[in-house]
Symmetry: C2
């Protein structure tokens, strides 16, 4: 089985990872597309650089033509050999042989921003999803910004309020695309004040490691190692150290309590070990 | 010496507190002033209830007449026996015998919102400040909202950007009024996305315990015990557990890294022990 998760012999609470796979470039939205393009440049480099074949997935956006053209221009400017858009606006598009073939040829697949629910509505449990996981396990790089970042875990934040304290209702969760299982990801993190939203998401599902990624900031995931690149920081909340929470006793709209979580804030260049749940410095 | 801090025989890194003093009601701004007024009601109750003599300090606001009248109306409606405004718009007002006398008679002193720099500019090292600390040590309750909350520690956030990752430049610090030493307080916390600002403040001075207080939320400090009341939550960051930060090597505008801080999020009813640095549940 492609993309199958090995859970045997993993230390408890660690992030179980497939044994072999490509890399992930998970961007907190609003990445630089006009200047140095540090993050998108890194995506192209890891996807094969001058030999890279990149597919831009526009399924999340309501403006696939415009957004697709923009990323084609950027990735070509950054040196990619081949860049093409796959737009799966309807679920049936996700079994189109041409789309499948494009993914099969890709060394890098990039998901644009938009609405993350559209990504899973159109792709979940389709042939295209299977092909994506196959290519990922073979070494292709999967990138995504904003909605394209949110969809990376097995459980994603579909929608939710920022700038509020945590409550169960703040974050609506649903299945994600499962490229980085057992974590929660939130994007536009500092810019939209999403600490409460990330904690709300963590509280209502088994993962206990949350990544809040700022705008124009990304994590590059290579096996068990996460590296931060870009302008802002990545805020990591580790709930495995929590000594008390009140999630089991909460009635609707009551406030979440959380005691003893571990907090890391990592800027560019810092790394984090997913298995040890520990920053590397 | 009134308000002197006993630092002998305190466990290292604990919050040193005066041996005797009144209570503090520290509000994250935008407290309910029209409905149940849960927080302001608690302030009046702790200041003596029907026997309370309350002074409203309008020094922080540019609209002292209007804001003063509003709080007079609220505190009278909530049952206070006597409510009067002391406005120290100029520094010389802080040695006015009438102002000093009003503070001396007060069982509760409430600082309105506005600009916290105005509070310390007009009151720091004046007779009125000495009188405030004397009354506090005798049991008077000191309350404050927004700017009136920011000024409570010995070092306060004067001004600073929200919705950003931590950098040294994000929070400009200066001396506060010193009612709650050895902590940092930030207000409008979730609403203005101020996690980065709180961490920026903590990083640049010795205190290692930060309280981020949401709007319409307060902490009531009685000796070493902090209790949360109100609508939102209080986010507590404890830096005493930090295993690594890069503050010593930062050049201007570089991003702060922080590994291994402890995070608590406490809603209404939860308590925190300042000496043990631990939530009580």
């Amino acid at each position: 089985m492609v993309g199958q998760i090995e859970t045997q012999n993993q230390p408890q609470d660690s992030v179980a990872l497939p044994e072999t796979h490509g890399e992930l470039v998970i961007i907190g939205g609003a990445e630089d597309r006009e200047g140095e393009c540090r993050i998108l440049r890194e995506f192209v480099r890891r996807a094969g650089g001058l030999q890279s074949h990149i597919v831009v997935m526009t399924v999340a956006t309501g403006l696939p033509g415009e957004v697709g053209e923009q990323y084609i221009g950027i990735f070509k400017r950054l040196g990619a050999e081949d860049v093409r858009v796959v737009d799966t606006a309807r679920r049936e598009d996700a079994s189109d042989p041409k789309a499948i073939d494009n993914i099969t040829q890709a060394t890098g697949v990039f998901f644009t921003g938009g609405n993350q629910a559209r990504i899973t509505e159109c792709l979940k449990d389709t042939e295209l999803e299977t092909t994506l996981h196959k290519r990922f396990s073979e070494g292709a790089v999967i990138g995504g910004t904003s909605a394209g970042a949110a969809m990376m875990p097995d459980m994603m934040i579909v929608v939710g309020e920022g700038a509020t304290n945590p409550r169960r209702e703040v974050a609506e969760m649903d299945r994600g695309m499962g490229f980085l299982p057992n974590v929660v990801i939130d994007q536009h993190f500092a810019q939209r004040g999403r600490l409460g939203r990330l904690l709300s998401a963590l509280a209502q599902q088994p993962a206990s490691l949350g990544f809040g990624i700022d705008e124009n900031t990304a994590i590059v995931v290579s096996g068990k190692i996460v590296e931060v690149i870009g302008e802002g920081a990545v805020t990591i909340v580790d709930e495995s150290t929590v000594t008390h929470n009140n999630i089991e006793s909460l009635l609707p709209d009551e406030d979440l309590a959380l005691c003893g979580a571990t907090l890391h804030v990592l800027p560019t260049g810092y790394k984090f070990d997913l298995e040890k749940r520990s920053p590397i410095f």
